[in-house]
């Protein structure tokens, strides 16, 4: 069985919610839609205060290159367009909509029939994906259509679908693969057509045998789609690691997957593409895992964007007493939520409730140069050296040691016996370097 060769770790899997079927999350009274649902520039609002909107109506338009359209997830009237605190407590512009009824725009196909015929042409598909505001649902929320605008002189050979879900706790992709198998296959076929390739690989880690079985079974009807079971190892879901595991190709430092002929998309994105192209349904909801060791019940919700974390907590019946931290995303790369009034966004794949025992960071000690961080690093870097250089204020030398290649997976910090905040230091230095570069460009 395949996997990537360099580094990697095996954190406790804790996939508690694998058996929980996807439930529809009830509509709240009010939703808050950030204009920055995605990576890149914020979208420009096209609705005004007091305007009536329907579900699926365009409310903010993408004007910059790296940007995605935003559609209303509810029907109702626009309460106001104002700056609202996001989950880190930072004010960002958002459209606030009061929910009234449940009325969709006419163009969306709401029937449960599965549409197999792909009628649109290659460019029409990409335009449709762009129009429907589809972004990568693996976590980075990069606008999907940009990945399919292949730069001149480069050629795509493989489409790789990331169904690895290597982060502990998360099960949204797991449930999607079991409950929407056929839609995913059609979605993958659409993406293949958009890319102009025949071959598509779906990488699934072998801790999800029922997903592998269901997908392999379905793939027999779709020539060219290969389900590739992978050995369990974190961070296999990282783009470069997944390409290495499946194709054996190395993405060189500072290059993109397309430079080695690959395009990688998440399995959730494939489903969103199916909805967008075949059903004309914009990206207004995603699958979210609500889990935690202390929670009495584990859930996988189909949830509209813009619902606040407080609404979710209320719906699951409050938080357990020893909750210390709530994380959006997985425990390895997710981010702690500071402001629970903040709404969910397109990329919110999970709400993870962490107990006090799990959340505590152990006391930091001196580095003993054991080299465990080097062994664990999937990019072949030397985190202990970065730490030493950064603490001496020598970021320039750290950059020379390929600091910018770091994918921030957190393996080094996970494995460090001295509990050094290695990833914090690396992120700090990367930020600082980007700022300096921006300042120099301005000059």
């Amino acid at each position: 069985m395949k996997t990537f060769p360099l580094g990697g770790i095996h954190p406790e899997e804790n996939k508690l919610s694998t058996a929980a079927t996807i439930e529809e999350f009830p509509l709240p009274k009010q939703v808050t839609i950030f204009l920055n649902q995605h990576l890149g520039a914020p979208a420009t609002p096209v609705v005004e205060k007091g305007e009536k909107v329907k579900i699926g109506q365009l409310i903010a338009k993408a004007e910059a290159f790296v940007c995605a359209n935003i559609h209303s997830p509810v029907s109702g009237s626009v309460n106001k367009i104002d700056s609202v605190k996001d989950m880190f407590g930072i004010y960002k512009n958002a459209i606030i909509i009061d929910v009234e009824g449940d009325e969709w725009v006419d163009t969306v196909d709401l029937t449960p029939t599965i549409v197999k015929d792909i009628k649109l042409s290659k460019t029409e598909i990409i335009d449709k994906i762009k129009e429907m505001g589809v972004v990568g649902l693996g976590g980075a929320t990069f606008p999907t259509h940009i990945k399919y605008m292949i730069p001149e002189g480069k050629k795509a050979e493989y489409l790789i679908i990331n169904a690895v879900e290597c982060e502990p706790y998360l099960t949204s992709d797991h449930r999607v693969m079991l409950e929407h198998t056929e839609e995913i296959m059609i979605g993958v076929s659409i993406l293949r057509k958009a890319l102009g390739v025949e071959k598509a690989y779906i990488g699934i880690e072998n801790n999800k045998p029922e997903c592998i079985a269901a997908m392999t079974n379905m793939a027999t009807q779709y020539a060219g789609i290969v389900v590739e079971p992978l050995k369990v190892k974190y961070p296999q879901g990282a783009e470069k690691q997944l390409i290495k595991a499946i194709t054996g190709r190395n993405v060189p430092s500072g290059k993109l997957p397309i430079d080695v002929g690959c395009v990688v998309n998440n399995v959730g994105t494939a489903l969103a593409v199916y909805d967008a192209v075949q059903k004309n349904k914009p990206l207004i909801e995603n699958i979210m895992t609500v889990t935690g060791k202390a929670l009495a019940q584990q859930h996988n919700y189909k949830i509209r964007i813009g619902i606040s974390y407080n609404d979710i907590i209320e719906h699951i019946g409050g938080l357990p007493d020893d909750t210390a931290k709530i994380i959006s995303g997985g425990p390895m790369m997710g981010k702690a939520i500071v402001n629970l009034e903040a709404p969910t966004t397109k990329g919110a794949s999970s709400m993870l409730v962490i107990t006090e025992k799990e959340a505590i960071r152990a006391e930091e000690k001196e580095c003993i140069r054991c080299g465990k961080c080097m062994e664990a690093c999937p990019m072949g870097l030397e985190p202990y050296l970065f730490s030493a250089l950064i603490n001496n204020g020598n970021i320039q030398d750290a950059i020379g040691e390929k600091l910018m290649d770091c994918i921030e997976c957190g393996c080094c910090m996970f494995t460090c016996p001295a509990n050094k905040p290695l990833l914090d230091e690396i992120r700090f230095a990367k930020n600082k370097f980007r700022q300096t570069m921006m300042q120099q460009q301005k000059k």
Binding site: F88, G89, I90, Y91, V338, D424, R427, F428, N431
Partner: protein, 285 residues
């Protein structure tokens, strides 16, 4: 035998000596002796307050430019400026000494922190992640980046809140802390007569209601102070008042007018009508 050795080695020595001399003449670097002289009088802390890489870099820049326009050693102050002017054959300009001022009240530390931070001890890193424990996205984070940047031991940190306290006597106004602060909370202001200063102790640019919700001592940009000021020293920009210390005559009318107590006056003798916050600020002396 000995003679042969002396002749061979001697001639090799003479040959290389000549070679070195020729090379030294051909690739001679002519350096202005003034650079060395100026380097001598500079403090030598390499604090970077002048914006150059170090003291020698400043000396080189001054000599290259020929005058001290836009180049000065903030740490050395007027004394060093006078010495440099003498070396350069210029007339020294007296400049008012400046001091680092923390434009944030510690009002938030009286409240429960809204979150707990466990990461790397660095304001810059915490700032890149989120608003900080206080819940204010503009104010002091309290992890001591300014303390680490100060080369002159002028900043001490409050052990409980991590809030920096500037020692006016030790601070040379080099501006290293201003550069280090990721939120630009610290400003260089004139030292003032007997260290007396009036300033807006807040940098929150949010609208009034929002700013007030985060901090009881926030500037809400109401403009009362600007109306009260008889010298037009106060401007309101981005919902935030700023007192221009060059125009301020320290009448302290604005201090009494401010509804949130965001304007503070430090080191004034206690006055019956003065705000109670004034005296609190004096405690660090």
């Amino acid at each position: 035998m000995i003679l042969a050795a002396v002749i061979v080695l001697g001639s090799i020595g003479a040959l290389f000596g000549l070679l070195l001399y020729v090379i030294a003449q051909k690739f001679k670097v002519i350096e202005d002796p003034k650079i060395d002289e100026i380097s001598e009088v500079l403090p030598g802390a390499n604090c970077g307050g002048c914006g150059k890489a170090g003291c020698r870099a400043l000396a080189e820049a001054i000599v290259k430019q020929g005058n001290t326009e836009g180049l000065k050693c903030p740490a050395g102050g007027n004394e060093v400026a006078a010495k440099i002017a003498k070396i350069m054959g210029l007339e020294a300009k007296e400049e008012e000494p400046v001091v680092a001022v923390i434009r944030c009240s510690i009002a938030c530390s009286a409240n429960e922190p809204k979150s707990h931070y466990q990461g790397m001890k660095s304001c810059a890193f915490a700032h890149s992640l989120y608003v900080g424990e206080s819940g204010c996205g503009y104010g002091c984070i309290g992890l001591g980046d300014c303390y680490n940047a100060c080369q002159f031991d002028a900043i001490t940190l409050d052990p409980k809140t991590g809030f920096p306290i500037v020692n006016d006597d030790k601070c040379v106004g080099c501006g290293a802390c201003v550069q280090a602060c990721p939120r630009k909370v610290i400003e260089l202001r004139n030292k003032g007569i007997k260290n007396r200063r009036v300033y807006v102790s807040c940098v929150n640019k949010e609208k009034g209601g929002v700013a007030r919700k985060t901090c009881s001592n926030a500037c809400i940009g109401c403009g009362k102070c600007a109306k009260a000021c008889p010298f037009d020293a106060i401007v309101i920009e981005n919902n935030l008042a700023y007192i221009d210390y060059k125009k301020c005559k320290m009448c302290r009318k604005c201090v009494a007018e401010c509804p949130t107590g965001a304007i503070v006056a430090v080191n004034f003798p206690p006055k019956p009508q003065a705000q109670p916050t004034d005296t609190n600020e004096n405690n660090d002396k």
